[in-house]
Amino acid sequence: MNVANLGRRYTEKLGAVIINAIDGLGSVSSFGSKFFYWFLKPPFRMKLFMEQMYFIGNKSLFIICLSGAFTGMVMAYQVYFGFKLISVDSLVGPVVSITLARELGPVLTGLIVAGRAGAAMAAQIGTMKVTEQVDALEVMGIDSFQYLAVPRIIAGTLSLPMLSSLFCLVGNVGSYLVGTSALMIDEAVYLSKLGEFMFMEDMTQGVIKAFVFGFVVAVIGTYFGFTVSKGAEGVGRGTNLAVVWGMISVLILDYFLTSFLVHIL
């Protein structure tokens, strides 16, 4: 095969990948935009919404607290040993706190929710799809998107900022305990520096990110549930894609949100 043909083959493959990616992005965006049409339309199914809040929120508490505590504790150590070299170890508290509020809180919570709730959404809806339960809703005259996706997307969007805030709170407690008991930073210094360098904008940035991540993770989870086909194998594939794309979206969006929010906040 000559070089020209080889080049053409790879260009075609690359083109196909790009087209598929744009096509997929378009499909998810179109699916997500349906939410804005349906979420204000009655009937409002509070029970379904509360069930999803319980599943995404309450059922994630343990893993969020565990991850938050250890992230805060580990960060306190890492920051301390770096800062000690330049004699600013008293700033461990605010640095950990700001990092948690602006970045690690929303991003790690987003990744955890994508892995836990995003996968569950895709698996639940996907199973309903292949067992014709979604068709049964449609035949009864119920819009399956409104019934299945809307409560999950609202619950995801509202749960994630709360979980992220909890992650930050627990992380700060972990950092404080390690900083003051293991690293011997003076308690009063730790707290006063925290008050001096931590601002409301840091929290706001994290909460905004968490809202966006919650919405995107829930849209992706439900999207891959609705697009499941080919039985149990399809459900497995849809669940896997929901987790992978949920996590990738959180990471990519984090960059764009950060670059945008640092200019306006």
Binding site: T127, T131, E132, D135, A136, V139, M140, G141
Partner: protein, 248 residues
């Protein structure tokens, strides 16, 4: 074609294509009101596609479908969703909501679409479940705790909850043992006879079961109706494809 109120469904020159594949090819037939009509055919003949058109879940590439005097193409999505409540459907594997009990499944359409109080719903659901042969001790079992036959019964009770004018059965006996097949057939006939004026449409490839319970049979082959006759005449059909199917 004139709309005939004696027909529950009129299908006029219905064609459906997906890409270059023609799934339904100029179908033109009417389904009479108050009778049991079976749409029979091999797998891949287009039966499920036709069913989805009748329900308004798919739109024709060309042609017209008139159900209970209403041209589905003229209905808005909201009207279409409301109109679908005139249908009840028993799915091949019952399609019960697996997070709800037998009782919860049957109560679901009543809670969604009626203003009945919980007491009235409880009474209606109990009557429906008992009428299809579900005993009280099974009311609060999840679908995973029910046998295949029981699931079909619960699915039928759920489909009948809103007193539909048209009842659709998608492959109701496929994959069932002979005893359960007979039970389902009896249930279809019993349901049809109990609900006077109800139109029943069965989508099936089970010729034996179909011949026993249908009033009319339409034979669908590769997207076209090749025979459509009352069951007594269908048995005598000389059409070679029908003959092949009858002799299987």
């Amino acid at each position: 074609m004139m709309e005939n109120m004696e027909d529950a469904i009129q299908i006029n020159n219905l064609t459906k294509t997906f890409g270059t594949a023609t799934i339904l090819n100029e179908l033109d037939f009417n389904i009479p009101k108050g009778k049991i009509t079976t749409i029979l055919g091999f797998s891949g003949a287009g039966k499920s596609t036709l069913l989805k058109h009748i329900l308004g879940l798919l739109h024709p590439t060309s042609g017209q479908i008139v159900v209970l005097g209403k041209d589905l193409a003229t209905l808005s999505p909201v009207q279409l969703r409301e109109f679908r409540r005139s249908f009840g459907m028993l799915f091949q594997y019952a399609a019960l909501f697996d997070s709800k009990t037998a009782f919860g499944n049957v109560a679901f359409p009543l809670r969604e679409f009626t203003n009945l109080g919980e007491e009235e719903i409880e009474k209606r659901v109990s009557d429906l479940l008992l009428s299809v042969g579900i005993k009280e001790e099974a009311f609060h079992r999840l679908p995973s705790e029910l046998s295949g036959g029981m699931r079909k019964r619960v699915g039928l009770a759920r489909a009948l909850a809103l007193s539909p004018q048209i009842m659709l059965y998608d492959e109701p006996t496929t994959g069932l043992d002979p005893i359960t097949t007979k039970m389902v057939n009896d249930l279809i006939v019993e349901t049809h006879n109990k609900n006077r004026g109800m139109t029943s449409i069965i989508i099936s490839h089970d010729i034996k079961a179909t011949l026993e319970i249908s009033d009319f049979i339409a034979f669908l082959d590769r997207g076209s109706i090749v025979e459509y006759l009352p069951v007594s005449e269908f048995k005598k059909s000389t059409n070679p494809i029908v003959q092949e199917f009858l002799n299987l």
